[in-house]
């Protein structure tokens, strides 16, 4: 069946056919025809943000907490350039995002028209794919393909640039099922020989570890279930990257905590000393590996990844398995069961004994406070007081993000939204709004630092407008904490521009926005203040004044190996050598 309609109507129709319920956006001259169509329907909800960067981070939060693609609608020129940071963020963290941008009319492209920007040129290197649609007849097909590309294989951001005359003109609408999605069909099934090699390795492994990443969560609920079944059946320890938290429950008995630069002592030592590393949907990021040539020197490495370019990119793998995590884990599990469920139980028990010794170091312990709130304590109390609730957490970027990863426990996937690869300050507040829009009745908390939070604080207006009761839990140290920490460790304690001399009064700011503000500066009042935040039916800005000079530990300094961690202040003298100092 073919239907004639305007390009603008096609956009809305295509979104409906793709099952889109929410669009995050901001209008402008070059998208007015589309906004006119958005106005004349009720199936798709439009969330008006305060800045386009807020729209894309909100869409990322929406996508990551639902598993569905996030959709963004912005105008040409500055509208499009303002979403570039979010596009790169989504590319680095493999988040499915579809950006629809307006463009000046086709006959004006290249003339430096008002609000013209080379949007496809600017976003070419940071999208999975992008399109400039010059004919209305191609528009619906392109949008359907955009959704296909964004959500299949390794997910990522895509952009469709739509000139204004294409929106006004009439053309033929192509239905979703009849669209040729082209040759783009990433492989999901793993190679049988590679899976057999993996199963053979795990049957005899003496010191195995599952190293899991965001790919488990992107693969979907089946992958999470299978990972848990694997851990349960084999008794192998499990650690995860920042992006993978929640795939294996924090309360699970095989859980070692997060690994990497600020990971736990036991997780990093297990990675270093293991004889079999099973990488499930992670990418050997430099925050994880530390020094490459000292990375897990004795282990055989299995790497399950849907993206062939992740294989052997950084770390050489003995058994690469290209495919979707759920497909591969299931095929391997079936094979392992059919071969008699063999595991070297005795050796693995010895391995656990060793791991328990590392655990006994209790690397996340912190000294009890003296009245001043220690940031770790604030996060630990937040965890204790929200345990068991229907809870979603977003974060900004910095020390607070690492403390949140260390002290909060995630029992389910899609409950933890954070900017991992790109490290985008200003991500958390808009992301929390996107999560809340997707889960209106859930408790959504943005664990923030005051500096990051200020970067997109205008989005509180969005939270108020849509009655999104997001809780902004700001660990306020009046510093750019992580920058300050690095300056202390490797720049002779010269704190160049890492503190804020003119912070707003966050309680008054909350009042100005029309929500609730809470300030807490004392350990004794902390629990009550957190309870007050949780009890309030609406957005809250919680200004938690914490110890200003706290550092985030444990830490693998740049250029060091996993077994060369620092655990606290006494270890910090000269920890980063000259060669480590050039790294970030």
């Amino acid at each position: 069946m073919t239907r004639q309609m305007t390009g603008a109507k096609m956009v809305v129709q295509a979104l409906k056919d793709q099952g889109v319920e929410v669009v995050f956006g901001y209008p402008g001259g070059a998208v007015l025809p589309i906004y006119d169509e958005v106005f004349q329907q009720n199936d798709i909800r439009h969330i008006l943000v305060r800045h386009e960067q807020g729209a894309i981070h909100a869409a990322e939060g929406y996508a990551r907490s639902t598993g569905k693609p996030g959709v963004v609608l912005v105008t040409s020129g500055p509208g499009a350039t303002n979403v570039v940071t979010g596009i790169v963020d989504a590319l680095m963290d493999s988040i499915p995002i579809v950006v629809l941008s307006g463009q000046v009319p086709t006959f004006m492209i290249g003339s430096d028209a008002f609000q013209e920007g080379d949007t496809v040129g600017i976003t070419r290197p940071c999208t999975k794919m992008n399109w400039l649609v010059k004919e209305t007849d191609k528009l619906s097909e392109t949008i359907h393909q955009a959704f296909h590309v964004a959500t299949s294989g390794r997910p990522g951001p895509v952009l469709v640039d739509i000139p204004k005359d294409v929106q006004f003109a009439t053309g033929t609408y192509v239905e979703k099922p009849s669209v040729q999605t082209g040759h783009y069909a990433p492989r999901v099934k793993g190679d049988a020989d590679a899976i057999a090699a993996f199963v053979e390795l795990l049957e005899t492994a003496e010191k195995p570890v599952f190293y899991t990443g965001g790919g488990v969560i992107n693969s979907g609920p089946a992958a999470t279930r299978l990972l848990r079944e694997w851990a349960e059946a084999t008794g192998f320890p499990v650690t995860s990257t920042l992006m993978g938290l929640g795939a294996y429950p924090a309360s699970g008995k095989s859980w070692l905590g997060m690994l990497g630069m600020h990971g736990t002592y036991e997780a990093n030592w297990a990675m270093h000393d293991c004889d079999l590393m099973i990488n499930v949907g992670a990418r050997f990021d430099d925050r994880i590996t530390g020094r490459i040539n000292a990375f897990s020197p004795e282990s055989k490495k299995v790497h399950i990844d849907i993206d062939p370019s992740s294989i052997n990119k950084v770390i050489r793998t003995d058994v690469p398995i290209i495919g979707d995590v759920a497909h591969v884990l299931e095929a391997a599990l079936d094979l392992w069961k059919s071969r008699g469920r063999k595991v070297n139980r005795e050796a693995v028990a010895r391995w656990w004994k060793q791991i328990d010794e590392w655990r006994a170091v209790d690397c996340l312990a912190y000294k009890p406070g003296t009245g001043t709130i220690r940031p770790q304590h604030a996060v630990a109390r937040l965890e204790a007081l929200t345990k068991g609730m229907d809870r979603y957490i977003t974060t900004e970027v910095g020390q607070h993000q690492m403390w949140a990863a260390q002290y909060l426990g995630f029992e389910e996937p899609n409950r933890w939204m954070t900017s991992g690869g790109l490290g985008t300050m200003g991500y958390g507040l808009p992301a929390s709004i996107g999560v809340q829009i997707a889960h209106p009745d859930a408790l959504v908390i943005n664990v923030a630092g005051e500096a990051s939070w200020l970067m997109n604080m205008q989005e509180m207006g969005t939270a108020i407008q849509y009655r999104a009761p997001v809780k902004q839990f700001i660990l306020n140290n009046e510093r750019l904490g992580m920058v300050r920490q690095w300056q202390e460790l490797l720049h002779g304690e010269r704190y160049s521009h890492s503190w804020s001399e003119a912070l707003p009064d966050f309680v008054k700011l909350a009042e100005a926005f029309g929500c609730k503000g809470i300030r807490c500066d004392n350990e004794a009042d902390l629990d009550d203040a957190i309870r007050e935040m949780l009890a309030y039916d609406g957005p809250v800005i919680f200004d938690c004044l914490v110890e200003k000079h706290e550092n985030c530990f444990p830490m693998i300094p740049s250029g060091n190996a996993h077994n060369d961690m620092i655990l606290g202040e006494v270890d910090t003298q000269g920890v980063i050598g000259a060669s480590g100092a050039v790294l970030v």
Partner: protein
């Protein structure tokens, strides 16, 4: 050397040092990349090379299948075996890429490029240039009393050799197409 002057990729401690010290052999590979013929496709492929720091020694691109809407990009690149593998994997995952063939490893191939040489000279030089052109089977495609333009097709090595010989005879300009390549046999 100051620690901050350590060249990227050379520090053994650098997280950016992706190369296996045991495999620092630089290989040259000719890749045939079949892509959708659409606007921006060349920018996508070149952008990948520049963004990830890969080398392009030679590059040719043209539509080869009008109905099928396909172009063929022939790129000669060099790097360690690990980098070459990465280049192919990165190309293969691009949405606009249909196939990547490594002609260097997939068997013998024919490689050719077209070159034009402008040579200016008089007397013996002029005669010698003509004589060498004959040996190299180059054609004269333009002539004045003081200059020739030669056209030649051959492997990059043959083109290089001819250019070397023409230099003392008055070579003033060279235009080369870059390598086009096909696998031998069926």
């Amino acid at each position: 050397m100051s620690p901050l002057n350590i060249k990227q990729g050379t520090s053994k401690h650098s997280a950016y040092d992706l190369r296996d010290p045991n495999a620092e052999v630089i290989e040259t590979h000719t890749l045939a990349v079949i892509v959708d013929n659409e606007s921006g496709v060349l920018a996508r492929v070149i952008g990948l090379f520049s963004a990830r720091g890969y080398n392009i020694d030679s590059l040719t691109v043209a539509e080869v299948d009008h109905l099928g809407h396909r172009s063929r990009i022939t790129v000669v690149t060099s790097g360690t075996p690990q980098v070459i593998t990465q280049i192919k994997a990165q190309l293969e995952r691009m949405v606009i890429v249909h196939a990547v063939n490594d002609l260097t490893v997939e068997g013998p191939s024919v490689q050719r490029e077209l070159a034009l040489f402008k040579v200016r000279g008089q007397g013996d030089h002029r005669i010698e240039a003509l004589r060498l052109a004959e040996i190299f089977r180059a054609n004269v495609v333009d002539s004045t009393l003081e200059s020739f333009v030669f056209e030649m097709t051959g492997t990059p090595e043959k083109v290089d050799a001819f250019a070397e010989l023409m230099r003392p005879l008055g070579l003033i300009e060279v235009a080369r197409t870059g390598v086009a390549a096909l696998a031998r046999g069926t």
